[in-house]
């Protein structure tokens, strides 16, 4: 992760010290661990949430033969 931080340091021109690079790298490593369980969830058929809508209760299924 330190190498990734160093690359950003050059690209953005942050002028981070080695000590600061350590701090950022540690935070990024901690975040990667935090996010790991997200990929263990079965998300088959689940699309991203983009807006909260009023929940509409499912209408009861129509009985066969009725229209």
């Amino acid at each position: 992760m330190k190498d990734a931080v160093r690359r950003l340091n050059l690209e953005y021109g942050f002028n981070l010290s080695e000590q600061e690079i350590d701090v950022v790298a540690k935070q990024a490593e901690e975040a990667a661990l935090l996010f790991k369980p997200l990929f263990e969830v079965d998300l088959t058929g689940i699309t991203p949430l983009t807006k909260v809508d009023k929940r509409v209760k499912k209408a009861p299924a129509l009985k066969k033969g009725k229209k």
């Binding site: 992760m1 990734a4 931080v5 950003l8 953005y12 021109g13 942050f14 002028n15 981070l16 600061e20 701090v23 950022v24 935070q27 990024a28 901690e30 975040a31 661990l33 935090l34 996010f35 369980p37 997200l38 990929f39 969830v41 998300l43 689940i46 699309t47 991203p48 949430l49 983009t50 807006k51 909260v52 809508d53 009023k54 929940r55």
Partner: protein, 480 residues
């Protein structure tokens, strides 16, 4: 009437007096401005006081009311606005050094609506830098102090707004809440704090980089539940300037108050999410609050949210990349104008892979479905707003508090521990209100949050108001 007595009133008490011309909006505004002049040097709630504009607006309100043009319950009522909400012609810093001299040439839609309702804007309130934290210890503008104990934080990021309301430096305030930034300071300062449903209030005019998109809400801080309802009725609703705002109809939110709550089911989430580091004093106050609700006829039921423990990861995975999207320009041009801690966090955020963000948005939908299922069994969900009362400023600076003989770190892998209890209602966008539910042995306020299904704000007000009146905690004011 003495100035202090005026200052301790609520909107629902003041409004009829203004309408009947028994209180002058001008005198009321001057009374608050005098109190701000006296107490703001001690509390640092306001960054900008808009005295001249406030007096002009109050004069205008007085003239209109005298001519019989009363606009409604917010007419002549003094408000404050968090400093990450754009105000035309008034500096809007977002608590940052970078925007220290930004003067917007437009009002946020919510400010426009307040002004249309005749409200008086007294000024802009202090906050955590870029709203990225919840202690309101601001390296550029100084700390806002908790009016119940000035050695303690007020919470945040809308810390100045909560201080202003609690200390009667305004009647109500607008804040923003992307991780608890309205409810957290409301709880720690003993005010009511409302975060409505995601999209219920337009966020047009919110400073980019102070809350992201998927979990950010504008909210209301006031002294009572009824006041929150009155304000929401005037500021909610679709706004073409904010595509994420909802076109759900806005109702008169003051109507449900007073309707008995007997038979309403209240859900308590099983599994220990809200037990993490819960202090005994807050736990006891919450249990007592549940007893009060039961005595009013509510029924308590345990509910399960299977993916509850992923909430901190969802919050971080959503807000960090969104923050980076907004901060990209300043990270390249003015990185050293952020406080070091915030800068390091933003740089670390640049290393979050895109699939993390998208996966989080998918799990948010899953979590919302789990809450939907829970709301088929109960009408509201209750939880403590925070694990503890207001930490000391010194504790925040050293990074941990000691409570019940245990050390609790205020930051962990997931980020800010002070927001652990509030973020479930950000990632789901559910309407949630924090009400005062007791005091610690040292006299610090404690908050309980009540949540409902999307766009069921009326239910929150019904239950919150009934609890507030039965418990009576709202009557206490800080001694200043």
């Amino acid at each position: 009437m003495k100035a202090l007595e005026l200052a301790e009133l609520t909107i629902s008490e003041i409004a009829p007096l203004i309408r009947k011309k028994q209180i002058s909006p001008l005198e009321l505004t001057k009374s608050y401005l005098d109190r701000i002049k006296k107490l703001n040097p001690v509390l640092n709630a306001y960054l900008t006081i808009t005295e001249e504009q406030a007096i002009a607006a109050a004069r205008r309100a007085e003239r209109e009311i005298a001519r019989g043009n009363y606009r409604g319950p917010l007419h002549g009522i003094p408000f404050s606005i968090k400093d990450n909400i754009a105000t035309k012609g008034v500096t809007t810093t977002a608590g940052s050094k970078i925007l220290s001299d930004w003067v917007p040439d437009f009002d946020a839609s919510v400010v426009e609506r307040l002004k249309e309702a005749g409200a008086i804007i007294l000024g802009k309130t202090n906050m955590h830098e870029w709203a990225k934290g919840s202690n309101s210890i601001n390296p550029f503008y100084g700390t806002s102090y908790n009016p119940w104990d000035t050695t303690r934080i007020p919470g945040g990021s809308s810390g100045g707004s909560a201080v202003a309301v609690a200390a009667s430096l305004c009647v109500a305030s607008l804040g923003t809440d992307s991780a608890g930034s309205v409810r957290n300071p409301a709880s720690l300062c003993g005010t009511v704090g409302l975060k409505p449903t995601l999209g219920r209030i337009s966020t047009f005019g919110g400073v980019a980089g102070t809350g992201g998109y998927t979990v950010n809400h504008f909210g209301i801080l006031a002294k009572t539940v009824k006041d929150c309802a009155l304000v929401l009725s005037h500021v909610a609703g679709y706004d073409p300037k904010d595509p994420l705002s909802s076109d759900e109809p806005v109702s008169d939110y003051s109507k449900p108050m007073g309707i008995p709550i007997k038979g309403i089911k209240i859900g308590i989430i099983k599994g220990g999410y809200f037990a993490e580091s819960l202090t005994s004093e807050v736990g006891r106050a919450f249990e007592e609050a549940l007893k009060t609700l039961k005595s009013l006829g509510m029924r308590i039921q345990e509910i399960t949210i299977p993916h509850m423990n992923l909430v901190p990861a969802l919050q971080a995975a959503s807000t960090r990349p969104e923050a980076n999207s907004d901060h990209e320009h300043y990270l390249r041009t003015r990185p050293r104008d952020y406080s070091p801690g915030l800068l390091y966090g933003l740089i670390a955020g640049l290393l979050i892979p895109a699939p993390v963000y998208v996966t989080a948005q998918r799990i948010r939908r899953l979590l919302c479905q789990e809450f939907d299922t829970a709301f088929e069994k109960v009408q509201v969900i209750a939880a403590p707003t925070l694990f503890s009362t207001a930490p000391a400023i010194e504790d925040c600076n050293r990074g941990y508090v000691e409570a019940d003989g245990k050390r609790v770190n205020l930051a962990d892998r997931a980020g800010n521990f002070l927001t652990r209890y509030t973020i479930p209602f950000n990632v789901t966008g559910l309407p949630t209100i924090s009400v005062r539910c007791g005091f610690s042995s040292s006299g610090l306020p404690i908050g309980m949050q009540i949540s409902a299904a999307p766009f069921q704000e009326g239910r929150l007000f019904q239950v919150g108001h009934a609890y507030e009146r039965a418990a009576g905690w709202y009557k206490r004011n800080p001694q200043l």
